[in-house]
Amino acid sequence: MAVKVRIPTPLQRLTQGKEEVEGKQGTVIELINDLEAKYPGIAERISEGGKVRRFVNIYVNEEDIRFLQAEQTPVKDGDEVSIVPAIAGGEHQQRRDL
């Protein structure tokens, strides 16, 4: 079992069209850097200088990481990570109960 990572449509070109890929446990930023090894180019689309980009939202088990431990949020096998572009500040916000 690994971490399940959901990839948004605009980034699926980098994952050979896969909507969901497997990631390694650790922190969110480690997970992103590990994805880069398998899918070159993906990390810089999601993050810059170790920080997740402002218009990319990342959810761990449906919770926005900005309200957990941000880039240092731990992820473990079995967790679900969603990467969701905010599209101009959040109009594409993920469906979740606020």
Partner: protein, 411 residues
Amino acid sequence: MGYVSGLKCRECGREYPVDPIYVCEFCFGPLEVVYDYKKIKKVLTRKSIEKRPKSLWRYKELLPIDGEPQVGLNSGFTPLIKADNLAKVLGVRELYVKDDTVAHPTLSFKDRVVAVALTKAKEFGFDTVACASTGNLAHSVSAHGAKAGFKRFVFIPATLEQSKITASLVYEPNLVAVDGNYDEVNRLCSEIANKYKWAFVNINIRPFYAEGSKTHGFEIIEQLGWKAPDNVVVPCASGSLLTKVWKSFKEFKEIGILKELETKVFAAQATGCSPISVAIKQGSDIIRPVRPNTLAKSLAIGNPADGFYAAQVVKETGGYGEDVSDDEIIEGMKLLAKTEGIFAETAGGVTVATAKKLIEQGKIGRNETTVVCITGNGLKTQEALAGRTAEMHHIKPNMDAFEEILKKIGR
């Protein structure tokens, strides 16, 4: 012949040509229009502006069009009212109301942004315009779009006040009421915008549309006698208006129309939907989305697209953000009406009540010049005041009855 050099991502700075696009392909940041200010500086001066017709198009070089204006030729240039009565009640020396309750043709500041968006939609060659709206934008797209000969699709939250629905339907757009709040309507519209080649004014035309808000700010400067106020209080829904009012001030400085600029920008929200003011008060860079619960429906955007940038402007200028309860909003609306004779929509109540709070807190100085931005007309949201206005006097048709009432009134 235009003065626009292209579009640019606000986040990563990547540049794009002028197209109906709104988001950076690389980092997903919002795109913004870039102008050639050196070129503009040569043609746009106080004198050249003053000679032009009194509409928002008198600042056309600072608007993102290539040709001549095509839509909303009579929009903009609303009054800046010196609000001495309100100033007295609030205990400040100099107060102005920028009064978009009388914007043409649909009585809100959205007539500005839509005039610009639909002119741009014509330039791009679209035959259909669309929007997601909490009401005012629906009216403006319906009306401006009718006059300009567009097919129109207008998406609104189904819970909107009946009066706002009627005020769209009269222009006979395709009005679609969606079971959901504004954020959900917007999300649906983003999907629709991907599939249909329409000019969605607040989606794929957004970078151009949003620029129209600058004219609210240009006019404030011009009407103050080419001076910037010490303070400006701006209501926030998406936060776009606030960022654009500030941008307009900075652009006037940039092209030499303004000599000095030290304005503090203040954000006004309803407590029932205050993601921006809360972030400002907490000193946080993170705009935490909320589920809106306020009678100020035109401001009820729980996940504001420009919230981050609005909070940055407030911080950068030394302003502040505040929010007010539904009761304070109603009191704000009534105060503006009974002191200045201006009936604003609930958003206007938010702005007035917030200004009052900021003055009481000492965040706005009593000896300074302050402008409050009033963005929409109260006749559109009369339901908000049901049972909360003063009572009328009901009498039989005779003098005795009338004089009985006069005694009660105490005259």
